[in-house]
């Protein structure tokens, strides 16, 4: 219980620090939002009036506090580009990215866990290594282009560049996201298989496995009864990181497949220097990353009773 509480506290503190850093960085860099909002109509008096109206003359920490309060009550500021509240812009996009991430995650888990366990017999080491390195070398956007061509244009499984929309056609949207997820998943599957394989092999060489064999377990019983549970902790940690990496992958892959998600919005907003939107997306994604790490820690705590005393 104390472990859980401490982890959640760490999560909150981390988020606070990350959001403060983000806020401060964008506050310094983004210039004067009042001037930006007024654009060509800006006169010194008008800018000054708007600054006072927007509360920009107050100290940064106060504004940070307000922004943070806004973040939790669903008020993320106004986009420079679209002149719309940020939360209205991001809401539907978040859902799309969440779907894409979950589909990718499920895909990675479903494919890599059996493959990792199968490959853990220690045979064909060379082939595994070459295949692994190759898969890790294929960038998601290149796979994405190939998949769009092969499955989209040749096999007509989906129409590249035409995302149906989750609310309009859920089934077709999921098929569309599935192909995007494949290109995110390939390098991560390779990494997960590699990690799982080396974990299981190294666990197999531990002394407790010898004890288990001396008690009359066969190979299968050793693997399922003992080694698997012991391999689970590093695996869960790794999957937590995978969750974070998927978000990164989705930024690029959304662009390849024209999926209207957070990542695509982020890239567009960076190009147009739409700072309120960038800021909000960065904090949302950061929260996602930190949250998946914490979740992995909490799951591990249930698996391994030794954690909690010394765990970081």
């Amino acid at each position: 219980m104390r472990y859980t509480a401490r982890k959640i506290l760490t999560l909150l503190v981390t988020m606070l620090v990350v959001s403060l850093l983000t806020f401060a960085a964008f506050d310094m860099i983004s210039g004067d939002p009042a001037a930006t909002l007024l654009g060509t109509q800006a006169t010194p008096e008008k800018v000054e009036a708007l600054r006072t109206e927007m509360g920009l003359n107050r100290p940064m920490l106060v504004r940070y506090g307000e922004w943070l309060a806004g973040f939790f009550t669903g008020n993320l500021g106004v986009s420079f580009q679209y002149r719309q509240p940020v939360q209205a812009l991001l809401g539907p996009k978040m859902l799309v990215t969440l779907c894409l991430s979950l589909v990718s995650f499920v895909l990675i888990v479903v494919v890599s866990l059996p493959l990792g366990l199968l490959s853990a017999n220690g045979k064909l080491d060379g082939l595994h290594t070459f295949l692994n390195q190759f898969c890790m070398a294929v960038p998601p956007f290149f796979t994405g282009i190939l998949i769009s061509w092969c499955f989209g244009i040749c096999l007509r499984a989906f129409v590249p560049g035409d995302f149906p929309g989750l609310d309009r056609n859920l089934g077709k949207s999921l098929v569309y996201l599935f192909f995007a997820a494949v290109s995110i998943a390939i390098p991560r599957v390779a990494m997960t298989v590699r990690m799982l394989r080396s974990t299981v092999i190294s666990e197999m060489n531990k002394p407790y496995v010898r004890t288990a064999i001396a008690r009359g377990n066969d190979r299968r019983q050793v693997l399922w009864g003992h080694v698997l549970k012991n391999s689970l902790v590093p695996t869960v940690t790794f999957l937590g990181q995978t969750m974070a990496e998927i978000v990164a992958g989705s930024i690029v892959v959304e662009q390849v497949f024209s999926v209207p998600g957070l990542g695509r919005m982020l890239v567009a907003s960076i190009s147009s220097q739409d700072y309120p939107v960038v800021e909000a997306i960065v904090v949302i994604l950061a929260f996602w990353v930190v949250l998946s790490g914490t979740l992995a820690d909490l799951v591990n705590r249930c698996i391994d009773p030794r954690m909690g005393g010394i765990g970081k």
Partner: protein
């Protein structure tokens, strides 16, 4: 009951044979001590008996007979029937030799789960009895603990309990007390003696410490560089060593003890 005939083991990645031509016998209900410095091949001998040799990484010849059944070249499936059922093994470092994520209770019961059709409740009772025989205090409570929650001595007792729960004929003890401090070491030796007296289980006790072996075993065998250099009655070996290596081992025991104990 156990007969090792001319055992040779050579690992592929070593030049020298780990065990070269060892022959030993253990009678029913006997405790045989096997002494030697590290690397003398005593553990490899025990591992061969327990069927734990990494078969692909070594060459082995000879015969190991347990009540007439050949073990060294036996099929893995045959071996599995014997491991845990007829031969129990206790290793040196209990902290790393117990599965860290499995409760003590399940680990003690494991051989029963594998080798018998016993119902759950009976298994539990047998486990409790074995733990009591290994002189673990509060067996019921310890069942629910994980290895990291126990001290080294307690864990070693748990490991002994796990080894004897299925009432094997032979117990292999590979330096079971080396990692423990002296008082606990003495307690465990006493407990093993009692176990041997009461259940009649034969034991092969491996140690580099002649003094420990002397407390427990009537008969002792001394190994050096894979060869059996001396074998015989413990007192005989202790007071009238025939081989210079045995003499060296005896000299390595702190002198004060030896003089005091000498009649």
């Amino acid at each position: 009951m156990l007969e090792i005939q001319d055992l040779h083991v050579k690992f592929h990645n070593r030049d020298r044979e780990a065990v070269s031509g060892v022959s030993l016998t253990i009678q029913d209900g006997e405790i045989l001590g096997l002494v030697g410095e590290s690397g003398s091949g005593k553990s490899v001998t025990a591992m061969s008996v327990a069927g734990l040799l990494p078969r692909k990484q070594c060459d082995y010849t000879g015969r190991i007979l347990l009540d007439g059944q050949e073990l060294l070249h036996a099929d893995r499936s045959v071996l599995r029937e014997i491991q845990g059922a007829e031969i129990g093994v206790v290793f040196q470092e209990p902290q790393s030799c117990m599965d860290p994520l499995m409760k003590i209770g399940s680990q003690v019961e494991e051989t029963l789960r594998i080798h018998t059709q016993m119902p759950k409740e009976e298994r539990h009772q047998r486990a409790l009895a074995a733990m009591a025989a290994a002189e673990l205090p509060d067996p019921e409570g310890i069942c629910d603990k994980y290895p990291h929650e126990l001290s080294g001595g307690m864990l070693q007792r748990a490991m002994i309990a796990a080894a004897i729960v299925n009432r094997p004929k032979l117990l292999l003890l590979d330096e079971p007390t080396t990692a423990l401090d002296v008082t606990i070491q003495a307690q465990i030796l006493e407990m093993l003696k009692k176990l041997n007296r009461e259940s009649g289980v034969s034991m092969l006790f491996i140690s580099h410490n002649l003094n420990v072996v002397r407390k427990l075993c009537r008969r002792v065998a001394v190994m050096q560089r894979g060869v059996l250099v001396e074998e015989g009655d413990t007192d005989q070996v202790f007071y009238h060593p025939q081989h210079p290596y045995t003499q060296k081992l005896i000299d390595a025991i702190p002198t004060r003890n030896r003089k005091e104990e000498r009649p």
